[in-house]
């Protein structure tokens, strides 16, 4: 048997197994039950428009707050970690190791309940705001490491060129190093953003007012109200509708940046 024939045969068998498995799953599944439980049109009509106007909107707002907050705090932490001043490095390292090591849900819970008590302070946005603060803290730890790697990936010659032109360290950082670092870390940063989108579903542990509910919380509540799982499917679709264009956008951005490499 010729190698190409053998290869083709092997691939054919694989496809066959796949098709058989698919047919088996389709035949075994109880389609009536699936339709009543997961694709109930009455429940769908009930979910709209709140699932978009409230739930999806909240998820996007929480994501933006957590990402921007995490980006700012993460940048500060990354710069501290690269600082020649040892105590800055220590603080940054301790912070990053701590918040990367803890489950996000625990930090959100802690911020939502412990912070208002410990500091006799009610964060803006109530317990959801406090929970968001926790999410910012966690994202910052991950983002800091990403930014640090990006800064270190910018060739040393770039800094030397800028300094030799008389540019001060801060100008060099903001006009030369960071723009290049952020181009380098666009893919991992997108990853962080997608993770944050999904992690906003953990905010429910902070306890949410009805109008503050994110996609997952909204869907779970509606699901138990209607004793039907359709809202969960809807929520899943909403997440994909949010994340897919986003990753497309970033891919486009990356191609655009290629000319500046």
């Amino acid at each position: 048997m010729k190698p190409t024939t053998r290869q083709r045969l092997f691939r054919g068998v694989l496809y066959l197994i796949f098709v058989i498995a698919l047919v088996a799953v389709v035949m075994v599944a109880d389609w009536d039950a699936i339709q009543t439980n997961f694709l109930d049109l009455d429940v769908v009509t009930e979910a709209f428009p709140a699932i978009i106007l409230t739930a999806a909107k909240n998820t996007i707002v929480y994501t933006l707050i957590a990402f921007v907050g995490g980006l700012i705090l993460g940048l500060i932490l990354a710069l501290m970690k690269l600082s020649p001043v040892a105590p800055y490095r220590w603080v940054s390292t301790i912070y990053i190791e701590t918040f990367r090591g803890l489950p996000a849900i625990l930090v959100i819970f802690g911020f939502a309940f412990a912070v208002p008590i410990a500091f006799s302070w009610n964060p803006p946005g109530g317990s959801t705001g406090a929970g968001l603060l926790g999410l910012i803290m966690v994202s910052a730890a991950y983002i800091a490491e990403t930014i640090r790697a990006g800064i270190q990936a910018v060739p040393k010659g770039q800094v030397e060129a800028a300094r030799s032109l008389g540019m001060r360290p801060s100008w060099t950082l903001f006009s030369v190093v960071l723009p290049q670092a952020f181009r380098i870390i666009t893919p991992p940063l997108t990853n962080e953003l997608v993770i944050i989108i999904k992690d906003t579903s953990l905010l429910f542990v902070a306890g949410m007012a009805l109008l503050d509910r994110d996609l997952t919380t909204f869907a779970r509540d509606l699901s138990s109200q209607t004793a039907n799982s359709t809202p969960l499917i809807l929520a899943a679709l909403m997440y994909l509708i949010i994340t897919l264009p986003l990753t497309q956008l970033v891919a486009k951005l990356e191609r655009h940046n290629q000319r500046g490499r």
Binding site: G157, Q158, R163, G166, W171
Partner: protein
Amino acid sequence: MTEPRANTAMSSIPAIQVNQLHKSFGDNEVLTGIDFHVDQGEVVCVIGPSGSGKSTLLRCVNRLEEPTKGTIVVEGVDITDKETDLDRVRTRIGMVFQQFNLFPHLNVLDNLTLAQRRAKKRSKKEAREVAMKNLTKVGLEHKADAFPAQLSGGQQQRVAIARALSMDPDMMLFDEPTSALDPELVGDVLEVMKQLALEGMTMMVVTHEMGFAREVGDRVVFMDGGVVVEQGKPEDVLGNPQHERTISFLSKVL
């Protein structure tokens, strides 16, 4: 090349004066007591085997390397003094690197205007005009909107020269400016440098281009093992070297 150049009023102070310069990287002493100077309007070519410390010397002159010991005086200002505003001094010292080091995220024009606007506080319009003047000088005015990645190595290096010139420096440092170039691209860069020298620019050039040193240099300095071994007129050092190490080096490269 021996006609008197411009700047007679200031030519009493050397552009660069290096006294007893030592530089170590850890245990490795790269410069072991260098005395060196460049006069106003002079073109000094520094040659020597790799590891001789010539690039380190050049990088010390604008303090990209921190000297371990010794003083460096640029136009009468001691740049090893902690009080000296280094960024200000650096705007008067243009530097050209072996690897060009253009800013890849900016187009050619922005590469040339960034430091002018930041460090020289020039208006956008003025910075642009200066940039275009210098791009024309290096023959690349038509590449103002290009990104560095779209240029050949030789073009990138000419842009890098134009970028340094846009700060209106009093002197230019060249760190092996043609070593990273394909052989057929070297000529254009050397031509630009020669033009600069003819205009009376003070230049310190670390190079392996003996032809350039001979033709354009006012003085050639041969370094080996962290010291200046021999220096003098190009025809003397290159044509009739006195020191044994110079003879041995030149026999390998010429």
